[in-house]
Symmetry: C2
């Protein structure tokens, strides 16, 4: 089904960990948001057989992909190939909002 | 291979049609940019067996997905499921920059 949506209508906060929301999902691709409040962390993890990207929509993060760590702000694309460990930590004083895609999507 | 890149380093113009750039590509997903100068059009087309999304990074566009047409500006996600016709026309006085993903990628 077609989808049109402003990402701002789907952001949020999860005090316990970080906030995740799926926007669209098919057998080939899951597209969603990750929102990290200041200081929140998405621990390094890997998806076997699935590639992942982040696109920084708001805020700043410290990303690690494989052995590489970089700070990135709005407008930066980060790509983690299948099987490569990746994670991110929110930096700065405001929420980090990431558009995230995983292809193919993780199984429920 | 990991990729970190600011989309602004990969934008451009193509006077003849519209500008396309691939940022990352795997067997599962192709991620890139489409840049449409004011008035440029990406004619309606469909990808058999591949889902596609647009994320509006700069500017404004009039998107058509299936029978639905909507105007969308920065921050809007547009999803066109496999086999559903989709296209976009650049509106307003400045370049429309779209982050685009296709899963799985078209064959060369």
């Amino acid at each position: 089904m077609a989808f049109f949506g402003d990402y701002r209508d789907f952001t949020g906060a999860d005090a316990g960990k970080y906030f995740k929301r799926t926007l669209c999902r098919s057998d080939a691709l899951m597209l969603g948001l990750n929102c990290l409040e200041p200081g929140q962390v998405q621990a390094a993890h890997a998806h076997d057989g699935a590639d992942k990207f982040y696109f920084v929509v708001e805020g700043e993060g410290r990303f690690t992909v494989g052995g590489e760590t970089r700070e990135a702000g709005e407008g930066v694309v980060v790509w983690a190939p299948a099987g490569v460990s990746h994670g991110v930590e929110s930096m700065g004083g405001r929420r980090l909002v990431l558009l995230v895609g995983i292809a193919p999507p993780p199984q429920p």
